[in-house]
Symmetry: C2
Subunit: 328 residues, 2 copies
């Protein structure tokens, strides 16, 4: 195949071949079902378990895809990013597997569990004060000092191409295409990839984005048909606080069927339900699609509904329903 271009929208062929080339690196995660959750929600649910993905989240697909595309010359200088979350871990691990250096800028208040994970994967961490400005300026310094290539967590077609592999893979694991697929929505990388795979590889699957009500910038953008950035949102779904990017915004606005939201209480309840009934660990951001479905059940009743459990990285010493501030 030709090298896919990062300057235009991923096409169906490049999504398929990237997924194939990564088959020995990215884990094929299972699609699980739960009679209990079907009966509670009235929908027929299929859960794509990216919480079992390497580095604990779908982000590893995008990071691996992006690293596949960089040249040998770029590779020699390593890659860099700023992130306090799953992209940092994913990029560090993907770089380690390719034998590259990864320079990660993290806010000094990042949870120890995430700092340790990046370090375990061999990532070289530079701390900064916890503002977006400081993150960007520190990254710029690191980039200049090392010559490392910046890998943006979502506003990058190579990343989006990798994330598209998640739903592409899910379709191959299901007997028939679902009526709906719901993906969590922060910067929009996973949702954009899901939209492209639905567009190229299904007949009728409708794609829904799910956002915390407390970080509903994309919901607002979709309704007002103009870009509205997120404004320091406070939500337990810490992976979904970011604004859409210039590459994800148009894909989503053009093709998404709808954007639905979930309350903080609903997110915690959905997360609890999955842990208790399915016996699998998902992080708060991953619970948002199920929570949003449960707060908007009519549309999905008796429909085949895919849900992407986007990740499972959560601090096991800080369980939401055991924290005083979330008691209800």
């Amino acid at each position: 195949m030709n090298t896919p271009s990062n300057s235009c929208l991923p096409d169906s062929e490049s999504i398929r071949t990237t997924w194939q080339k990564l088959s020995g690196i990215v884990k094929q995660t299972p699609v699980l079902t739960s009679e209990t959750l079907n009966s509670i929600t009235g929908s027929e649910l299929f859960f794509k378990c990216e919480n079992f993905q390497k580095a604990g989240a779908f982000k590893f697909r995008g990071a691996s895809s992006a690293l596949m595309q960089i040249s040998e010359k770029q590779a020699a200088r390593g890659v860099c990013t700023h992130s306090s979350g799953n992209h940092a871990q994913a990029l560090a691990l993907a770089a380690k597997i390719r034998g590259l250096k990864a320079f990660i800028v993290m806010p000094e208040n990042a949870p120890a569990v995430k700092v340790n994970a990046v370090r375990d994967y061999g990532g070289q961490i530079t701390f900064c004060i916890p503002t977006l400005e400081a993150r960007e300026s520190t990254l710029e310094e690191v980039r200049k000092a090392t010559g490392a290539s910046f890998i943006h967590p979502y506003n990058n077609y190579d990343i989006i191409r990798g994330q598209a592999g998640c739903f592409f893979e899910m379709l191959q694991q299901m007997d028939e295409e679902p009526d709906y697929i719901i993906a969590p929505l922060g910067g929009g990388g996973l949702l954009s990839g899901t939209i492209l795979s639905a567009k190229y590889f299904t007949k009728n699957t409708k794609v829904i984005g799910a956002e915390p009500l407390m970080a509903n910038d994309a919901w607002k953008s979709f309704r007002e048909k103009k870009f509205i950035p997120s404004d320091s949102p406070q939500t337990i779904a810490d992976g979904l606080k970011t604004s859409l990017g210039t590459k994800t915004y148009p894909i989503i606005m053009e093709h998404v069927e709808d954007i639905i939201t979930a309350t903080e209480e609903g997110i915690i309840d959905a997360m609890f339900l999955v842990w208790e009934r399915m016996k699998i660990l998902i992080e708060p951001s991953a619970a948002v699609p199920l929570a949003a479905l449960m707060e908007n059940p009519e549309r999905f009743r008796n429909k085949k509904t895919g849900i992407i459990f986007s990740g499972g990285n959560t601090d096991l010493r800080r369980i939401p329903w055991m924290e005083k501030k979330y008691h209800h």
Copy 2:
């Protein structure tokens, strides 16, 4: 096939046919692997995930197997047992699926989460004071009043035949038989079934029982070659407090390769490790084999080692590593 007898040891044919007959009722649980845990332990591990079994534990296999064998006349009067744990839930659900009544005697201090689960499955609960004597005398009253058949949690060949299906199934899911299979050991039903399946269906797999050090009655029995009952043990592995029975004791003493133990701290650490790295929920009793392996690593180094994750029923509002008494 002829009806298997409950008065003699299950043979290979009856284990196979019982497993086949239950294939629409009992869930085929996955066998998972983890590169991280392989690298931590130095062994090549295969985890049989009975935490994903219906009613959350392997007990559903035995209960379903036992209910397959009762006559129509017995069925009309229902079944009964005393249990504060997974057998109660498993029997209630298996009875519900067969359309039978289940009468469950539970100690009045049983956790609400377990009482609710039994009730959700339609079990009729009689509470008693929390002593073995009270449980047995209350059960006897229930049995007399209802005519229900008593289904013992482990000292019953029909139960053992059902539990044998777990390792039988696991063998079919693996490319080759493991060098070792480790099962948790309380009353000995799962271990006995595992021993029989290893005996009938493998060439060389060695079976190891894993017990909490704080409830090491079987370990003592094995070493002293005589039956030593458990004596009010205190362990976080609440499913493994019981003594061996007259049917499980001889099977285990004759065929088990060894019995190994795990400390309380080791059990909690292993449970944490599985939650954090594998993103799946197991209960403390299910963590005992991995904990025991990690405390006795030499034998398993570079060996293919099967581990049975026996169940996933744990109170998500009481997480061991967050309880003060277990802080270390």
